[in-house]
């Protein structure tokens, strides 16, 4: 039976699996810990006789000097082997108001999302979304890369960091004890002060690949999969909890780029499809982002009926509404499968024209082709997809019928799950526990990135997928 020996205090035999922190708490030995033993606050330091090398979390949370002096974190040590340590020294508790809070960030091209977590209880206290101030320097990610390459890198980085400060202020935390960060490779590069020029052109190599631990303040930044498929996709897949499970899962994060992944147990293939900004409402005459007042659901019963987000006065149509509208027009015969608009319509002053349809066809065709290529890569048929997991800027709810009618998703999907902020949820999961950290590495290891435009017969497939029709 393993033992824990505390110098000048006593020797204890350990039954069952527990961490050193659990043991110390059980024995009423005073020890600081404000994150509930999650390895996020770094306060439960103890000095251990001949300790093993520090793990990533210990290296992150303990100063080099203390590491050299054999300090480790009690929460990171299992008591499965004999441990000898000195009695912990406990400092007087600080009076900081929000001690023990962690922050999760999702750095997107259009928005920055933040989540505030009480690490002690593990409860999510608040979530918020702010616009990425980089928008003023260019709406899409490629424009920002060009600006960065042409000398505005510093301005773009500062603008992103300013956005994060706004999000922190809005959510009410000045100094989180631990921050986790997901985002697309371009945003993560800006955040980590790494060049973005590698992403300016094919073969799209990001300056970051692996996960990054940062000190002062303590932060963890997700790794990326490859190309434009970033830590946000890893975070979303982590939160979906659908890898290494029986069955085939399809993951789509829809924004300017559509990140698509197909998960088959121990294998994940992923790519980004250049869908253009149509789904974010950009370039569509009545388009809108999925914000309050956006028409997000349209039905037809002797006339069009619609619903807006938060029941506000309509300001435009967001992605889910546009997809509904296309499906209805197809059903009514007012739109041909080749995209030709037969009858012009208007819903409360918001219409759709031939040019809008062409842009949506390109976006849907790109996603359709991405899914098709990934399924083929794994030798899987669409009917084998157990669940499609969608996240991103679609709207507030999605209708599977409309998604399959327009060809954005294939027929035969058994279940549809839609949550707008899965990548942020992934970042929150890493705040809450070390096994999530290991799972991030696992997902990264299982994932392979494909370059869609270089796949054989890409043009042929893409062109035939421009048809607005169901497929399987």
């Amino acid at each position: 039976m393993p033992t824990v020996t505390i110098k000048n205090f006593g020797k204890f035999y350990i039954k069952g699996r527990k961490t050193l922190l659990d043991f110390l708490v059980d024995k009423n030995i005073p020890i600081n810990a404000s994150c509930g033993g999650r390895g996020r606050c770094g306060l439960c330091r103890v000095r251990i006789q001949k300790p093993p090398p520090p793990n990533d979390i210990e290296a992150l949370l303990i100063s080099e000097k203390l590491l050299k002096n054999d300090y480790r974190l009690a929460c990171q040590k299992q008591t499965s082997e004999d441990i000898e340590l000195f009695m912990p020294k406990v400092k007087a508790k600080k009076t900081a108001k929000k001690e023990g809070f962690g922050l999760a960030l999702d750095l997107g091209t259009t928005t920055i999302k933040a989540g505030l977590v009480d690490l002690k209880s593990g409860k999510i206290k608040d979530k918020t979304t702010v616009f990425n101030p980089q928008n003023s320097l260019g709406g899409d990610v490629m424009t920002r890369i060009s600006a960065a390459v042409e000398g505005k890198y510093k301005q773009l980085r500062e603008s992103l960091l300013f956005g994060i400060e706004i999000a922190k202020e809005k959510i009410g935390i000045a100094k989180p004890i631990f921050t986790t960060v997901v985002g697309n490779p371009v945003m993560l590069s800006f955040y980590l002060n790494k060049p973005v020029s590698g992403l300016s052109r094919y073969p799209f190599r990001s300056a970051i690949k692996e996960s990054t631990f940062l000190k002062n303040p303590t932060r963890y930044v997700f790794p990326i999969i490859g190309g434009f498929v970033g830590g946000d996709t890893i975070g979303g897949i982590l939160a979906s909890n659908k890898y290494q499970r029986e069955g085939i899962f399809l993951y789509i994060d829809l924004g300017t780029n559509g990140e698509i992944a197909v998960i088959k147990k121990d294998k994940i293939v992923a790519l980004s499809a250049a869908a253009g900004p149509a789904f974010e409402g950009v370039g569509i005459s009545s388009g809108s982002l999925a914000v309050a007042g956006a028409i997000d659901r349209i039905t037809y019963n002797k006339g069009f009926r619609f619903r807006t987000i938060n029941n506000k006065k309509p300001i435009g149509i967001c992605a889910s509404g546009l997809i509904d509208l296309l499906a209805l027009l197809l059903n009514l015969g007012w739109l041909q499968e080749d995209g030709r608009l037969i009858k012009k319509i208007e819903i409360d002053g918001f219409g759709i024209n031939q040019d809008d349809i062409r842009k949506l066809q390109l976006a849907i065709g790109a996603i359709h082709t991405g899914i098709e290529v990934l399924l083929a890569k794994l030798g899987v048929k669409p009917s084998e997809i157990k669940e499609a997991i969608l996240t991103g800027e679609f709207g507030s709810s999605l209708n599977l019928e409309s998604l399959t009618k327009t060809g954005l998703l294939p027929n035969g999907i058994k279940q549809l799950r839609f949550e707008p902020d899965l990548p942020l949820q992934g970042a929150i999961m890493v705040l809450l526990g070390n096994d999530a950290l290991e799972r991030v590495e696992k997902i990264k290891k299982l994932s392979e990135h494909l370059e869609l435009a270089l796949e054989p017969d890409f043009q042929k497939k893409f062109v035939s997928n421009l048809k607005l029709t169901s497929w399987s």
């Binding site: 260019g138 490629m142 890369i145 052109r201 094919y202 995209g339 062109v463 421009l466």
Partner: protein, 210 residues
């Protein structure tokens, strides 16, 4: 009337019908040049117009071009090569770092359908390859496209490199692609910008036309 039927079959994307009609006319001793000009090329011109006004989309243009080539393959061996080459040679390609080429392919089809000889360098084409090809092929036009704001400046590199090699006066440079416009073309010293495939054909005709 016979030529109009061919034109209509091209616009309607009917490959077999185009073949039948062209074969029939050739049997009736109609001139291959006339079949090409008044039937096939006229058809693709109409396709370009429909594409410009958004009535036709990428798939229709590509299917119509298949119908065009079905007829073209029948008449072209019968037309003296001298005549074919007269309209001039065009080099086309997508700049380095850019791998999207559907737009370029459509422009290529429309140019070929208008009787130009097109040398296609493909996508992700380095600056030196553009310049070397201009030296070797001696084209009247160099057409480039870029699909990303991050790669469009490569076009400027090509123009500069042509100047450096004293080739700039020998070739007209035209550009296209989502992030560029007329103003950008002027700024980098190109001779013109085409908004879509039809505009590209008109531009070429204006620059080197008969």
């Amino acid at each position: 009337m016979d030529f109009d039927n061919i034109k209509k079959a091209v616009v309607d994307m009917e490959v077999e019908k185009v073949k039948d009609l062209v074969t029939k006319l050739l049997k009736n001793k109609r001139l291959p040049e006339e079949i090409l000009e008044k039937g096939l090329i006229a058809g693709m011109k109409e396709v370009g117009r429909l594409f410009s006004c958004k009535e036709y989309f990428v798939p229709e243009v590509l299917m119509a071009s298949e119908a065009f080539y079905a007829g073209f393959d029948l008449v072209s061996p019968l037309i003296k090569t001298k005549q074919m080459k007269e309209k001039g040679k065009i080099i086309i390609g997508v700049v380095e770092g850019d791998i999207h080429d559907i737009g370029k392919n459509i422009v290529k089809v429309m140019l070929e359908a208008s009787g130009y000889q097109v040398v296609d360098l493909g996508k992700d084409v380095p600056t030196e390859i553009f310049v070397d090809s201009v030296t070797r092929e001696n084209p009247k036009i160099l057409a480039m496209s870029a699909l990303m704001t991050t790669t469009m400046m490569k076009m400027k590199d090509v123009v500069k490199s042509l100047e450096h090699k004293k080739l700039r006066n020998k070739v007209k440079v035209i550009i296209g692609g989502a992030p560029v416009n007329e103003d950008f073309a002027k700024r980098i010293g190109a001779d013109g910008y085409g908004e879509d495939a039809s505009a590209a054909v008109s531009l070429v005709e204006a620059l080197i036309g008969e």
